[in-house]
Symmetry: C3
Subunit: 263 residues, 3 copies
């Protein structure tokens, strides 16, 4: 990946300010909206069956997050997803907690079956549980090492026909043929709720301005990872302060800072 | 408007601590509740059809915000609104995103038709889209200048029989016969989600303690605008920190500071 | 109570990182999740009838909070509660606003009747309204003094067969036979929404690692009270900053600090 090009994508987000339509869980709505605003995008949340298709059609990206599902919300996701597909608007799926209950796993699979999803973003356990293969389950264990992580990402990408982003200590992006890595970020991200959800929504903002799936994902992860490192430098081991400083850094971080710090 | 009188209204809010019943969107609930608490009011959120009328009847004001509608929530708004009307409790409508989808526009109009709303608070685009007139649509364009903004506010006030508050770089308040302006506030308010929603809920707190519609609105906007200026002085261009400091300033700002800074 | 033992419980929470399943109100989801994470627990929110039983069964504790009820959510609470009872997983009920509307009072009583609740946590007014007795109603008035508060807690504990935690300037814990007190905490807790709700969820985290009901409650209240005092020392009378610093202190406070400061 061209680091300069990837690092510059945030400038496009800030210039275009794409509308990102989120159908997301009730825990992270505020943090997601503020994170998108800080990055320069325009967030909207809409759930009513009467309006989700209309909203998705005017958006630059649609983000579906199954963190606090109900059947009514699932129907809204399918209505919005089909409208987005019609208009060729990128759809991002964040399968929060897939594997924790059969309902979540089944819902994530149903969305992947009925909607043409451009990005599937989750941790290794979530992706493996959706894929449901032995090779995938093995991949959950970080001790299995990078080979399994790569195999999980690329096989899931082929299985679902989308770009898969597996986040963790090392992030893996694969479209099934090309697999790339980043190792930006900070452990304190795991102590603040919704940091993964916000990354999925930011992926939507980047996908809205950059059609190349791998490049957009690489740019979004670099932006988010570097911003979180800069925030953690300021706040250390204080999760309350980190949540706030991360919003600040999403607004302040420059393409040059990103490029210099991509790992 | 008497600036001293308007600036002193926050003291009444802090003394009376009016109960403000919010039926609002899922993005801003926490920030709205914390903003009302910081200002000295008592927030409550209640949505169940079984209790919204009971809750509205014991409140000092009812705030309806259509940011994340569903039909179930619309029915709750109508039940609560009718109960508030019976008890002559002020109702505030925030038509978030009116115009973005036909459903939102229609819902805002339906509430205005079925409920006696005392305040309609939105940006120029939202108000114009609800009014649906050519003169109104023109008013959306800020380049059209103050004449169109005033015309939008006063005509919408006459059309809906309420006090209209159009917020933007300059805020316009009109009851159809008198139109007044303020220019407090700070651009960073647009980088934090729910700052408009919180203003609508604070308008409820002020309406609960001051029956004069123009005065209560003027007082609420001055209070909020000055608090946001004081917050921005501390935080500069950092949206995460601003969100927090705004809550601090809503708690700390004094009538004297408000009076000295009303513009 | 053994202060050393109570103060050390937070270490168990941090080591075990119990999964706390919250069915809670829409205002406090984010703050609750972040507070649990900061304390070292693992929060999950799940509401769908299709998955609440499955989720409750894998959790270390189930927290039911009636702050923004709908009938659909009540049914989810009953399904999850019965599953938790089957697996002998502790259930905590926070009857937010009981007494404010008949629906809330009736729902709190219904949950207490249909589910085996281990902890009932609320302020004196909420507990008294559920108990519905004259002696209880009197207890609401703080001026009635400590005798009434103790009587309220112990009689409610016997009536509902659970441990009752009545929080206020002085916190009272009773299992019907033993009644104990703490007076940690800070008045600014009442200026931030969801601080009571978060305490109930933390009670879940402590109950997940300590089967002795009185000890777990004493430990949770001491932990929370001391953390809030340390936070208030840093932030003074600024509610926005306090909300954030409380999250920091929940992460940072040590057993030694807790033990030295239990009052």
């Amino acid at each position: 990946m061209d680091k300069t090009q990837a690092a510059s994508l945030i400038s496009n987000v800030r210039e275009v300010s794409p509308l990102v339509h989120n159908i997301t869980n009730t825990v992270v709505t505020n943090f997601t909206a503020n994170g998108l605003l800080a990055a320069g995008a325009s967030p909207v949340m809409a759930y009513a069956h009467e309006e989700v298709a209309d909203m998705a059609k005017i958006a630059g990206a649609l983000v579906l997050n199954i963190g606090t599902l109900t059947n009514e919300v699932v129907e809204a996701m399918l209505l919005a997803g089909k409208a987005a597909n019609e208009m060729e608007i990128p759809v991002i799926l964040d399968p929060v907690g897939a594997g924790a209950t059969p309902y979540r796993t089944a819902t994530a699979r149903r969305i992947l079956k009925e909607i043409d999803v451009q990005y599937l973003r989750g941790n290794a356990a979530e992706i493996a549980n959706i894929a449901g293969k032995k090779w995938a389950i093995k991949g959950v264990d970080a001790s299995e090492g990078p080979r399994n992580r790569d195999s999980l990402a690329s096989k899931a990408a082929m299985m679902f026909g989308c770009t898969v982003v597996v986040t963790g200590e090392i992030d893996t992006i694969s479209d099934g043929s090309t697999t790339i890595h980043l190792s930006n970020g900070h452990p304190i991200l795991t102590k603040v709720t919704g940091t993964g959800c916000l990354l999925s929504s930011l992926l939507g903002a980047f996908a809205a301005v950059e059609p190349d799936s791998l490049l957009a994902a690489y740019g979004a992860l670099a932006f988010y990872g570097v911003a979180s490192e800069l925030a953690a430098e300021q706040t250390g081991n204080r999760p309350g302060s980190f949540q706030i400083e991360l919003l600040n850094q999403l607004s302040l971080v420059t393409p040059t800072q990103i490029e210099e710090n991509i790992r």
